[in-house]
């Protein structure tokens, strides 16, 4: 027991500090990936809602592929595909070895692409849930399309989107652990390193699980608070 406490302590010889720092990397990776995914998701939702065939098809294909293919495969595609391209460019400029992509940026991009495919569905559903009268009213007020979207539709759409976004966020947080396979030292990878060097896998993976659980629980309640705020002054159906 005292051994375990010592291993996980924050001070000298303890791994607590490294694990907390790695949890910070996991959190930053997840937040940035989620935000990038919001951008991809919004664009894809726009494509899905478009009456023209091409944007609608492209958006549908994007959603089908990245929601249907294992996330690990997508991560390999981006990391190896990107690194191979980078190595070719490196060769052109006279470098000989394998050039690896920066792992944090690759991780953010991978999470962005994957979560964007899920977020698109959330935004599309939420857009369709906004009352048609709101669109007509903003048109009658003489708002431009962009103005009506920004001032009228999106604030109301977020109300319907928040529960779904909360689910996607939980998915993102857990997906971030997969980024460890390309060597980024986030919480999962740091626990593997600790488990290997101290020969105490059980302690380290329990510690990792606890930290993931804490992040998931705290951020989950932030989403619930946001939801309550978004609905303030409204009568629930």
């Amino acid at each position: 027991m005292t051994d375990t406490l010592h291993i996980l302590s924050v001070g000298k010889g303890g791994w607590g500090g490294a694990l907390l720092l790695a949890a910070g990397v996991t959190f930053a990776l997840s937040v940035l990936g989620f935000l990038l995914g919001a951008l991809f998701g919004a664009v894809a939702a726009g494509g899905r809602l478009s009456t023209r065939a091409l944007p609608s098809w492209v958006a549908k294909g994007y959603g089908t592929v990245f929601r249907g293919v294992p996330d690990l495969l997508t991560i390999y595609l981006l990391y190896y595909g990107g690194s191979i391209a980078l190595t070719e460019i490196g060769k052109f400029f006279g470098s000989a070895g394998f050039v690896g992509l920066p792992t944090f940026a690759t991780g953010v991009l991978a999470i962005g692409i994957i979560s964007g495919a899920y977020q698109a569905e959330v935004y599309r559903g939420a857009y369709l849930a906004v009352d048609l009268g709101q669109f007509e009213a903003s048109k009658a007020l003489g708002l431009s399309r962009f103005q009506s979207l920004r001032l009228v539709i999106v604030p109301q759409l977020m109300r319907h989107a928040l529960p779904g976004l909360g689910n996607v966020w939980q998915l993102v947080l857990k997906d971030s652990a997969l980024i460890s396979v390309i060597g980024l030292v986030e919480l999962m990878r740091q626990s593997q390193i600790g488990a290997g060097s101290m020969r105490e896998p059980f302690v380290f993976y329990i510690a990792a699980a606890t930290l993931y659980f804490l992040i998931a629980t705290v951020t989950g309640s932030v989403f619930r608070y946001g939801e309550a705020r978004a609905w303030r002054g409204m009568v629930h159906a």
Binding site: V69, S191, A195, P201, F202, Y205, A209
Partner: protein, 230 residues
């Protein structure tokens, strides 16, 4: 740019991992569903001693990444080898195959039990009352009224969970199991052709998922004949 000969070469290699992917998915979805149903039913009675441990199990498995769960079971429990040998369970936790199946099953049981719990609670109270007015026992009500309606109601949400599990089997490659994703990763690092391998392996997963989705859609339509079909 697109080299068909290369596809012809890699597709059989990738398909050699398909039986393992299907086994992992099939076994863990099956075991997970049985567990999920048990957990959902056990919570109906509202016995505190039963509900509280189940809720904690569900919260832990839904609140942590599947990869951590697999590592905890495979590497973490490996630390207790003497104890596991003493109780005669070492053969199970020694094999990455069984560890992956245990982790996947427990994970999907946690998510699945929430889906089924909601579906069981969604069965109208009046139907249960009518069944007891008919003189049905609790078991009969469950078997003839509650479960058929709840399971049918749960099909759309449960099919999402099944797709997530099929994708989840790819994590088994991290504990050395050479299923489709594991083979794909090997091929990428041998051939340096990430896009082609991704397309071929992705097509395999999309085919599995489409087959499952259309089978479950057919099942749902068949079970709800009164619904107007668009």
């Amino acid at each position: 740019m697109i080299d068909f000969a290369f596809f012809v070469e890699i597709i059989p290699t990738l398909l050699s991992g398909l039986p393992l992917t299907l086994q992992l998915a099939g076994l863990s979805i099956g075991i997970g569903f049985a567990l999920a149903l048990l957990l959902a039913l056990a919570q109906q009675g509202n016995h505190r001693m039963l509900v509280w441990p189940i809720r904690s199990f569900v919260a832990v498995f839904r609140g942590t990444p599947l990869l951590v769960q697999i590592f905890l079971i495979y590497y973490g429990l490996g630390q207790f080898r003497p104890t596991l040998q003493a109780v005669g369970l070492w053969w199970l936790f020694r094999e990455p195959y069984w560890c992956a199946i245990i982790a996947l099953s427990l994970n999907t049981a946690a998510y699945g039990s929430e889906i089924l719990r909601g579906a069981i609670q969604g069965v109208p109270r009046g139907l249960v009352e009518a069944a007891s007015a008919f003189g049905m026992t609790r078991l009969q009500t469950l078997r003839l009224v509650v479960l058929p309606l709840a399971l049918r109601q749960a099909i759309p949400s449960y099919s999402n969970e099944i797709i997530l599990m099929v994708k989840g089997t790819s994590l088994a490659s991290i504990v050395t199991l050479m299923e489709v994703t594991g083979i794909a990763q090997g091929l990428i690092s041998q051939t340096y052709r990430a896009v082609e391998v991704f397309v071929a392996a992705g097509a395999i997963y999309l085919t599995i998922n489409f087959t499952i989705i259309s089978a479950l859609n057919t099942l749902e339509t068949w079970l709800t004949p009164y619904r107007v079909r668009a």
